[in-house]
């Protein structure tokens, strides 16, 4: 296969070790130009590591990277960039105190003679690019990076990939849609299609099967750091890909029975914060309620408000019949509310602490005697959840920064699943989690519900919403625009409610700088 120098990007006999961990072993893969090659595999299979090697961010322990048949000396990302290779990393990297515009063009800011920054040109470019890519409505170019939501951060990364001067030769997307909703995902696919037509070699990593089959020409599967197989997308099925990934068939689709009781655990009335207006909702014991909506609809804000971290301007929150005065997350946790937040790195993880530490943090009260924490009980707890969620790490004593993205996400979930609060709020719980583990997570959520826990799930992945929820509340613009029971809920129905405003009401604040109509175009 590798004898003829092929056009496109290839990895040849690449191995990568991190201490004792073999992240990649003898991987040989070819990414031809003008094609989208999907890279799949379980969490920790080595996908991100391979992409990092292709883009010069990691140095392989062995092997080499070739572009159009010539070996590249990828001493640094700068060399890779010069060679025309780009990456959208799994974790969006945002520069905090700098505007969205500068974030997007960092490293290639427009300039006039003498390295003078051309602010007018910068403004023109960002406005044009936002309009062209259809993100004008969801991204304010003047916002500083520190104030972006997870989805907005991901959009910035995507913009970076599509806005360089010359089109790249090869481009790698590492789970670009993990916190995007349908609408933006659709826009992204159009863009990727355009790249493919321009002859760019596209590498696409995702755990969303539907996307893969929509987008990919070929599917390469990694398992335990080795190539498990490369197949043509048109000639394979989901089941086969899953088999390649996990080495076995997965049990049938997850199906949940309703176990909701009459007991109302969470009762929210007229809750208003800076971004959420007049929200009234109830979650009963044993019930799983999903919050759906587009980017910026206010779901995460609502979740944070219930967790005590966003000031509540008016309205009441009642838990198990007790009215709560939520002034900090401590109050919420003490009352029995747990939130697994949306952004694992920024809001949840202690990267330089172990899996054990990270898992046990909110359960320490249970694990300590006097104030001394029993390490063995702590370890047992962490081990239990690491096993159940299939966390792939050398041991629970591994520091979290050495875990793959999906495995980090599992650690965040483990922390809150282990605590078993009365009300469990999960914001995008399966971001970046592989199919096998997803099923396991759904199962745990179902188990918790059966034990009487009330669960509130925020998710942008509609299949997840549909599969998991007893009831779906749709938010738009900070308000609840509709409620769908299990039987009424469908992707179309949810989307219709999520974009109700765009279809009916006239847009507010016409003085806005940039509101081209592309955004509504997706409402087919």
């Amino acid at each position: 296969m590798t004898t003829t120098p092929a056009a496109g990007l290839s990895a040849e006999n690449v191995s990568k070790r991190f201490g004792a961990v073999h992240a990649l072993q003898d991987v040989t893969l070819h990414f031809p130009p003008g094609q989208v090659t999907a890279l799949m595999g379980e969490n920790g299979a080595g996908k991100s590591t391979l992409l990092r090697i292709l883009t010069g961010d990691h140095r392989p322990t062995q092997g080499q990277v070739l572009l159009d048949g010539t070996p590249l000396s990828l001493a640094s990302p700068i060399d890779a960039r010069r060679a025309g290779i780009r990456i959208i990393p799994q974790e969006p990297e945002i520069i905090p105190h700098v505007s969205v515009a500068e974030n997007v063009y960092a490293g290639s800011l427009p300039r006039r003679a003498g390295r003078r920054l051309d602010r007018a040109e910068l403004r023109r470019r960002i406005t044009a690019d936002l309009a062209r890519l259809g993100f004008a409505k969801v991204l304010d170019p003047d916002l500083p990076g520190s104030r972006l939501t997870a989805a907005q951060r991901q959009l910035v990364e995507i913009l970076r990939a599509f806005t360089g001067g010359t089109p790249p030769r090869a481009i790698a997307f590492d789970e670009p849609t993990s916190s995007l909703s349908e609408h933006e995902t659709e826009a992204l696919f159009t863009l990727i299609g355009r790249l493919r037509d321009q002859g760019v070699a596209v590498v696409y990593v995702s755990h969303r099967m539907k996307e893969i089959f929509r987008l990919a020409d070929r599917i390469a599967v990694l398992r335990d750091g080795r190539v498990a197989g490369v197949v043509e997308a048109s000639a394979t099925t989901e089941a086969e890909v899953v088999r390649l990934m996990v080495g076995r068939d997965l049990a049938g689709l997850f199906a949940r029975q309703e176990v909701a009781t009459e007991h109302v655990v969470l009762d929210v009335k007229g809750l208003t914060t800076d971004d959420v207006r007049d929200v009234t909702l109830q979650v009963r014991a044993g019930e799983v309620v999903a919050l759906a909506g587009l980017i910026g609809a206010g779901r995460s804000e609502l979740a944070l408000a219930l967790a005590g971290d966003t000031p509540i301007r008016s309205g009441t929150v009642t838990l198990d019949g007790r009215r709560l005065d939520l002034r900090s997350p401590r109050d919420a946790i003490a009352a029995g509310i747990g939130l697994a937040p949306e952004e694992r790195k920024a809001q949840a993880l202690f990267l330089h602490r172990t899996v054990r530490d990270n898992t046990a943090l909110v359960s320490l009260r249970r694990l300590r005697r006097r104030r001394f924490v029993s390490k063995s009980r702590e370890r047992a707890l962490a081990q239990e959840f690491a096993d159940r969620l299939r966390v792939r790490a050398p041991s629970v004593e591994t520091e979290v920064h050495a875990l793959s993205g999906g495995n980090q996400q599992k650690v965040v979930l483990a922390r809150w699943l282990a605590r078993r609060p009365a009300l469990l709020i999960l914001d995008e719980p399966t971001r970046g989690v592989d199919i096998g583990a997803k099923a396991e997570i759904y199962q745990i959520i179902a188990d918790l519900a059966r034990e009487g826990v009330a669960v509130l799930v925020v998710s942008s992945e509609l299949p997840e919403v549909l599969g998991l929820a007893d009831r779906v509340l749709v938010l738009q613009n900070g308000r609840i625009t509709g409620e769908l029971g299990r039987s009424e809920a469908s992707e179309e129905a949810i989307l219709a409610l999520a974009m109700a405003d765009d279809l009916t009401a006239a847009p507010q604040g016409g003085a806005g700088t940039d509101t081209p109509t592309t955004a509504t175009g997706a409402a087919r």
Partner: protein
Amino acid sequence: MSATTAPSTRRPPSGTGPEPTRRGPRALLASIGGQNVGLLGALVVVIALFGSLDPNFLGWDNIRVIGEAATIAGLLAVVQTVVIICGGLDISVGSQAGLASVVSAMVFTATGSSAPLGIGAALLAGAAVGLLNGVVIIHGRVNPTIATLAGLAAYKGLAQLVSDGRAQGYVLGDPVFVFLSRGRIAGLPTMVWILALVAVAVHVLLTYTDIGRNIYALGGNDTAARLAGINLNKYLISAYALTGTVAALAGVLLTARTGSGQPVSGSEGLELQSITAAALGGCALKGGKGTVGGTLLAVALLGALQNGLTVQGINTFWQNVAQGLLLVAAVVIQQRRNRGRAVGLPA
């Protein structure tokens, strides 16, 4: 709430968005004070207070004195700002200045009183030492704090070794040095002009060039910058080299002011002063944030305060207490204005 820009998107009304460019008269205010209202307020209070207690305080003569006294620390604070924005720190600036001071005087003497050679040698030495800092930090992978702490000791030792620990030479027979130390241009001391020039240059670099924006980027998030193809190493090493060079300039001015090359006296403690000014001026020690304007405001505030306290004949002990209190007060006011988070770490 305020009618700045009609928020077509759903930005929260409590939006404190201080950051990117605004236009009109507010832009001017923003560029001078903006988030530095606390500092500006403190400066006004200090000036009003000491001015009313002693009219000489506001006299042209005294303002000149304040300016001259603040120049050396001010120069270092300006470059410290750059290094801090980069996410680094340079604790060795004082020692670098001391080394440069000695070198300038010794080369001056050795070359038969050639001021250009003395000054040139000092600047070269400063650049070299700064470069060394950068190389140790980047290629030795030593944390900037430790590396420059080591530099603090090592360069001081070096300055003492070459000078045998004593003041060197005497430069005030030379018109160049006399001009540096006592000259005036348009009524302002030469020293103050030098500070102004360096500050403006660095400000322009940071604000109006892509180099400057890259510096903010790499200080704010080094991974993002690396992936964006910014050559971090080059920038960081250059930042330290720049710092070394400007520290050397400060050393030359030290020589000019004191009349001879001082290995330690006059440069010890400058690191703390420069970091104080930068931090007070709004630099985040984590990097990615800070402005030359803010730093200069802090330099002015500290300078005016120190001078005022001395003018009032307040003894050192009270001066220390007063300085501590004012430092805290200025920041508290600032924080109240910017409405920092109520719960949790204030940083």
